[in-house]
Structures are given as C-alpha cells and as structure tokens.
C-alpha cells in the first residue's frame, strides 16, 4: 500500500519538476514547483518523517516559493518569455541528466546503506534535543549568519542614498 503511494507521489514530484523546467510560462513553473514540493512532503511522510514534511510545506512551499512568485509577478511578462532554448541545448541537458540519473541509480543500488544509529525513529522530541545538545553550535552560529544576511539584503536592495 505504501509502495503504491510512494510510487504515485514520486511520479507527481518528478512530473511536476519536469513541468517546472519545461513550462513556457514562469508562473506555471512556480505552480508546478509548489506541487512538486507537495509530492516531496508526501514522500517525507512515507519515510516516517512527518515533522520534516510539515516543515517542508511551511517553509519551502509556504514562504520561499511565495517570494519567488512575488518577484515573478512583478516582472514584465513579455520579457520573461524570450527564453533561449535551442533543441541542441535541451538534448544535451537531457542526455547529461539521464546519464547522471543512471549513475546515481547504480550507485544507490549497489552500495550498502547504514542503519540509523539509535535504531529508533526520530520524534519531535529527539530532533529538538539533538538540536540543542549535539548540534548546538551550528544552530547558534546560524544566528550570527542570519543577522548579517539581513544587513546584506538591505545593502543590495536599498535605494541610493543621496550624498
């Protein structure tokens, strides 16, 4: 049962990703992106990571893609459609992507995957505990990083200051 579901959601994710790449209209690309993120969230649920699924929807679909869509909507639509795609480009990209995919498939099928260390599924409690004990330092460092990111955004996006 969960195999069928995994297959269906996998197809959804992949199909929508193809839609993102091949769609002529950028807003439709964003829409397909949302759907493919949904498929991804469903796959997370199927591998027993519901927290990750909800966070995926909340942050990726609910915030990041919204900002994408903002920007795309404010751009002149006619200029957007002058996208350069030649047949050779698409063909080359397709061939490369296929070969990478095949290599990945071979790699993932022929290598032993490790079992999780504790042997039990992570709950919300274990995730938050590890974030504050084992991975405390990356967590704290990120706060400095985010502070400076805000300054960086301000630098890039502010109006010219008249001297």
């Amino acid at each position: 049962m969960s195999d069928i579901a995994a297959g269906l959601f996998g197809v959804l994710t992949l199909g929508c990703s193809l839609g993102v790449v091949f769609s002529r209209n950028v807003i439709m690309s964003a829409f397909y992106l949302i759907l493919s993120f949904f498929g991804l969230a469903a796959l997370y649920v199927l591998i027993q990571a519901p927290f990750l699924a909800v966070i995926q929807v909340l942050i990726y679909t609910g915030a990041i893609v919204v900002l994408f869509v903002f920007v795309v909507m404010l751009i002149d639509q006619d200029k957007l459609l002058e996208v350069v795609t030649g047949k050779t480009l698409v063909l080359t990209a397709g061939v490369l992507a296929w070969s990478l995919g095949l290599i990945l498939l071979r790699a993932l099928n022929h290598s032993p995957m490790a079992v999780p260390v504790s042997g039990q599924l992570p709950t919300l409690r274990t995730i938050s505990l590890s974030l504050f004990t084992e991975y405390l330092w990356p967590f704290e460092v990120l706060s400095v990083f985010m502070l400076v990111i805000i300054v960086g955004v301000f630098v890039l996006a502010r109006d010219k200051v008249n001297a």
């Binding site: 209209n25 807003i27 439709m28 829409f31 949302i34 519901p50 927290f51 909800v54 966070i55 929807v57 909340l58 679909t61 609910g62 915030a63 919204v66 869509v69 903002f70 909507m73 404010l74 709950t123 919300l124």
Partner: protein, 355 residues
C-alpha cells in the same frame, strides 16, 4: 485499517466538514444582520423570517449569474485559483478537536478527524498555503488592481504568520506538546477550585497576539486592505463572478472558523464547559456518547462567539493603512511575541527546572 475504521474516518470527515460548511451561509446572515445592527438599520429582512433565507437567495443568485472570464486572463490559473484557496481552508479543519471520545461499534472514536502529533505546525503550514489562491487569482485576472490586491494580501499574510506562529509556540511551550487534542485535554478542570484551567490565563499576551494576527491572516477588518471596496474595487477577487466569488467567500469563512477553532482550543478550553470538570459532567449526563455530543455543541458555541466577535470588530473599527499594517507586525507584534516567548521560558524554568 479495516473497512469499519475507514468507514468511521469517512463519516467523521463528512460530518465535521459539513458542519463547518454550514457555518458559511449562517455567517453570511450573521454578517449582514450584525452589520445592520451595529449600523442601526434593519438589514435583510425580506427573505424568510428575519431574513434567515437570505443566504439561500444569495446562493441561488450565484448559480444563475454570469461567470465571466476576462480576456487578458490566464485561463488555467484563473480557474484553479478558487480551488487553491478552498483546499487549504478545508484541510486545516482536519485537526480541530471538536470533542473528546465516543464509544461506538465497540471502539473508541476520537471526535477529531486526525490526531496529529504536530497539529499546530500542520495548521500553520497548510494555512500558509492559502496565499497561493490569492496570489494566483489576483495575477491570473489580468488586472493591475487585482495584482496589487493580491500582492498586498500575500505580503500581509506572510508577515502576520510570524506573530501567529510565535503566539502558538508560546502555548506549545506551556503545554509541552504540539498536538491540539492534548492541549485541549490539558485544559480540563479548575484551579483554586474556581478558575477554569484555560490557556488564556497562562498565556494572556499570546492570546492577544494570536487574536490580532488572526484578523490579518483572514483578511478581516481592520486588516482588509487587500479587499477594500473603496480602494481596490474588490482586490484580488474583482474579476471573479458568481460561484468562483462564492468559493472565495466560502474559503474566507472557513478560514475564520478554523482560526477561531484553534484559538478556542489553545486558549479557551476547547470542548470543556467553563466551570465544570469533565468528570462531573460525565456524572450528570451519564452516557459517554451524549457527553461527546454536548462537547461538540460547547466547542461550536465557543467558535460561534468568536465568529460574532470577528463580525463585531469588522463593523466597528476603521481599517489600517498598508504601511501601518506592516509596522504593526514587524515593529510591535514580533518583538512582543519574542518577549512573550522569553518570559514564558523564564517562568517555566523558574517554576520547574529542566524537564
């Protein structure tokens, strides 16, 4: 998961969905009569006693109205947008705890469609998807005013998601769980023999933040700049006629109901009767199943009170300008939310130590 379980699940879903669906026409009536009451005029009173059949008349009108699609519109997205806003509005209902349990068919059935461990996160996540209906609807209309309305609405919604989340996290910190059912269960009983154990007494500031943010999340006055009649015609749903417009309205009222439901669960005791403990109520009523029904009624009453408050505020208060709106959330509500979280954590540490 055998057939009986699936049947029960389907029945529960249908039942609760239909309950909330029926809130929509009732709200239409309450809105219009409430507006009339506050504005000292009669309001709709032609169709049925007290105008109670007005929503039915509206619905019939919607069915027979022309459903135009503007020429410059992107057909696909234009048609999909109302669905995009209705689906998240419906999905969030799944985690509202309408009541405790009933015993039927030899098993205990929770009066909640899905008891998730991460229910609050789920509500926030799916709630944030409602923006897309607005965004795509506004853009696909091919109308500059709609686009402006859509962009304003979505930036407002994502800005106010943050204080909403911060307030919810305060409640989560106090109760130690993300699950709405457990939070509701924890609000049973009385303190000092007379005070109900409601969340609002533990997190008053959190409730205030959540309350304000919920106005902005559902685009209700005083935060309804995106759909103001005077400024933007009708904002992002200008070009939508008849049933599509009806779907936008439905989605708005369902969102209202869901957020009221979450507020009731987090801060006002969920399905518990104010000054009576659940055990005592069970003794009075006798049967568990009847108790379940009473709990659903209590929950819906509390939600109804909140809905009336929403209507009341709408027709009383003037609306905010967009920059005032943004300043409120980024400059006041978010710092307040963070301070609330700090104080909550500090008090919990002082009282209980590490747990």
């Amino acid at each position: 998961m055998n057939t009986v379980d699936i049947a029960i699940l389907v029945a529960k879903t249908l039942l609760f969905y239909l309950i909330v669906l029926h809130v929509v026409p009732i709200m239409v009536w309450v809105e219009r009569r409430g507006a009339a009451l506050i504005q000292d005029r009669p309001g709709p009173n032609r169709v049925g006693p007290f105008g109670l059949l007005q929503p039915v008349a509206d619905f019939v009108k919607f069915i027979f109205k022309e459903d135009p699609i503007p020429t410059g519109a992107n057909r696909g997205l234009f048609l999909v947008a109302p669905a995009l806003i209705l689906i998240p509005a419906s999905l969030t209902l799944a985690v509202l705890p309408f009541g405790d349990k009933v015993k039927l068919f030899g098993r205990e059935i929770l009066l909640q469609v899905a008891d998730l461990d991460i229910a609050i996160l789920y509500v926030l996540a799916i709630g944030s998807l409602g923006i897309y209906g607005i965004l795509f609807g506004g853009w696909a209309s091919g109308n500059k005013f709609s686009l402006m309305g859509a962009l304003r609405a979505s930036s407002q919604v994502i800005s106010y998601e943050i204080p909403l989340g911060l307030a919810a996290v305060g409640a989560v910190a106090v109760y130690g769980t993300f699950s709405l059912r457990e939070i509701a269960l924890a609000q049973d009983g009385l303190w000092f023999g007379w005070l109900p154990r409601w969340g609002i007494f533990l997190q008053p500031v959190g409730f205030w933040l959540f309350f304000i943010a919920s106005f902005a999340e559902t685009n209700r006055l005083p935060f309804d700049l995106p759909e103001t009649e005077a400024e933007l015609v009708a904002g992002y749903h200008t070009e939508y006629g008849s049933m599509k417009f009806g779907m936008f309205m439905m989605a708005e009222y369902m969102n209202l109901t869901t957020i009221s439901g979450v507020m009731v669960t987090l801060f006002f005791g969920g399905w518990h009767l104010p000054f009576v403990a659940d055990a005592m109520l069970l003794k009075w009523i006798g049967s568990q199943n009847l108790l379940g029904l009473v709990q659903v009624v209590i929950f819906l009453t509390k939600v109804a009170i909140f809905l009336c408050v929403f209507v009341w505020v709408r027709w009383t208060v003037p609306r905010f300008r967009f920059d005032q709106l943004m300043r409120i959330t980024w400059g006041r509500l978010i710092p307040l939310g963070i301070v609330n979280l700090l104080v909550t954590a500090g008090v919990m540490l002082w009282l209980g130590g590490w747990k």
